[in-house]
Point group: C2
Chain length 352, copies 2
């Protein structure tokens, strides 16, 4: 700030002046704290249209002089998780959890040991496991994600997340979040944009680590939702049991439906990476004013994975990015993020 020719007050006078103002001390302490945040947002992003789209969007909705200004309390952004905030290959982390959990389920209920699909999972034969039909995979999900109390589930999943490691990097799954996306979450929150996860993954599963890993509290995690059942323990204390009852499959059309159910308003920004996110981006884009829709393209086999089949990238069964999605993005003005060229680094543990 240029001070011109006016004499600057010395620090002591300044402090005395501030003492006259109620609560000024606390306010200053908070301001000082806020300044600890690194001043450059999106430090892991290369300059380019993707980074620029984010900066332009935030400027448009936060600048009171902008015709697209949005009051702070109304600002909402939604983020898919698998493949958008963290690694989804070779298979979704929650599916690994469910498979890893099978031995404990069988130990509690030994008659499952020789019954399918549990027998195949216990065999450890990856190819046989990969061939399990959807109906049998759902049986595994039901046996490992339901039937216990909400608190027991949280303890089980929390324990697994604290130790299980991704085979490629030999690191905790929660270390495999994308650093540039963590910076978007932080940058949005610094600008009073409320950040939500909107995932096809289980709502309760993601809630176990979302606060610690993403800074996103449980009430801002929208996911595939199962019912719970209220009851009383032997001690008379009430508790909730996770039921094998699907309330909402938070994929495809389920994403805007889940957003309405849990948030009750249309997001201003939405991030995804696969056709399961298409309707969420369409719904977001149908609102007035400034809207930001972005899709992460996995085109970096060296640092992460490369899959499409858009742009001639190899096809995949997990988190595909078909050419039709690429075309819709182009048509609708959605921004495709190239992991290879838009991101300086992908993980926090990489050298900066």
């Amino acid at each position: 700030m240029k001070s011109g020719n006016r004499p600057l007050m010395n620090r002591r006078k300044l402090v005395s002046a501030l003492a006259l103002l109620p609560a000024a001390g606390a306010i200053l302490a908070r301001a000082a704290q806020a300044q600890v945040t690194p001043s450059e947002p999106l430090a892991s992003w290369n300059d380019g249209p993707a980074k620029q789209a984010i900066l332009d969007f935030v400027r448009a909705i936060t600048d009171r002089a902008s015709p697209k200004f949005v009051p702070p309390e109304d600002r909402v952004a939604t983020f898919d998780q698998d493949g958008t905030l963290w690694v989804e290959h070779p298979i979704y982390t929650q599916v690994v959890y469910c498979l890893d959990r099978v031995p404990a389920v069988v130990a509690d209920n030994p008659k499952l040991k020789n019954a399918e699909p549990f027998k195949t999972v216990l065999s450890g034969d990856r190819e046989a496991i990969a061939r399990l039909p959807l109906r049998q995979l759902e049986e595994i999900l039901a046996a490992t994600l339901t039937g216990m109390s909400v608190d027991e589930f949280e303890a089980q999943a929390g324990k697994w997340l604290a130790t299980a490691k991704h085979p490629r990097w030999n690191r905790l799954y929660t270390d495999l979040t994308y650093q540039p996306m963590l910076e978007v979450l932080q940058y949005f929150r610094d600008n009073a944009i409320k950040t939500y996860i909107v995932t096809g993954g289980g709502q309760d599963f993601v809630r176990v680590y979302a606060q610690q890993v993403y800074g996103i509290p449980p009430e801002q995690v929208v996911g595939t939702m199962g019912g719970t059942k209220f009851g009383y323990g032997k001690d008379g204390k009430p508790f909730l049991t996770k039921e094998p009852k699907l309330l909402l499959n938070d994929n495809n059309a389920g994403k805007p439906e889940g957003i309405h159910l849990m948030i009750g308003r249309r997001p201003h920004a939405a991030f995804g990476n696969s056709p399961g996110d298409r309707q969420m981006l369409e719904y977001t884009g149908a609102g007035d004013g400034a809207r930001l829709m972005m899709l992460v393209l996995h085109d970096d086999a060296q640092r992460e994975y490369a899959y499409g089949p858009a742009q001639g990238l190899p096809n995949t069964k997990v988190g595909t990015f078909p050419q039709s999605l690429f075309d819709e993005a182009k048509k609708n003005g959605w921004t495709v993020i190239s992991m290879k060229s838009d991101w300086k680094r992908i993980f926090k543990f990489e050298p900066a």
Copy 2:
């Protein structure tokens, strides 16, 4: 603030000093705004055990020296609506809305005119309407609360709320909120306690006015939840249609289930007024540390209504307060709020 013998800086100097601090102007503006809040919390409450319980609870969870301190970001309070935050007699406001909406539904679909239960509702015969069986009442709810887009519903309900009046007071239903409870909501928020509505009423209905009337945003309204269906209009724009599909009946056991679904954590405080709130209060009370459970007893026929049948009050069909609930409150240390003796005034429009 006493300035003692120190010379006061003049206003101009003070302003210059503040200009040196980044964002100080905005911070001060906010501080000045905050001071508009009256300094005495719970002004419409008489001194007594109910008011004291609220003050003690807030002190326990906000005092960093207290063993029951709760970090600001974890503080959650849930409030039933009908009979707890606003008048529920002689019938629930949302039911009045649905009945009032029938002529418009019939105008859109004239063949309903002579079909039951629409014919009875159109007759205006209150006694016949009151005798409609539950199944037929549900038909009215389905016809008036579903089938339209989320935006259309919001417009329809908003229009009604802006004009429809309660027969006893000849005032808007949204004027019939309890001033002492509005003060609790504000006092909680001033102490960083996040306030949620957890109502048996329709989630989308309550969201229409919750921000304006209670200062509670849509994502903090938990209610009876219906499904929506994502689709595209003739213009290709996506929108959500309200479906006659019940996801969760947010009453009784449904309240803690709805709290887990939407909030994902146990409240520290819960307010209700009828057996539909029992499980919510039990679930809240089963947590560690300081917990506040309160029930509003309608015992003031002169200023509002009186109904029990607890404590010999007349029985009712809407929002009953049975003696068994009164006994459970006593046993569990829940506080019963007497509208008659704990509240100085009930409505804002009463003379203070």
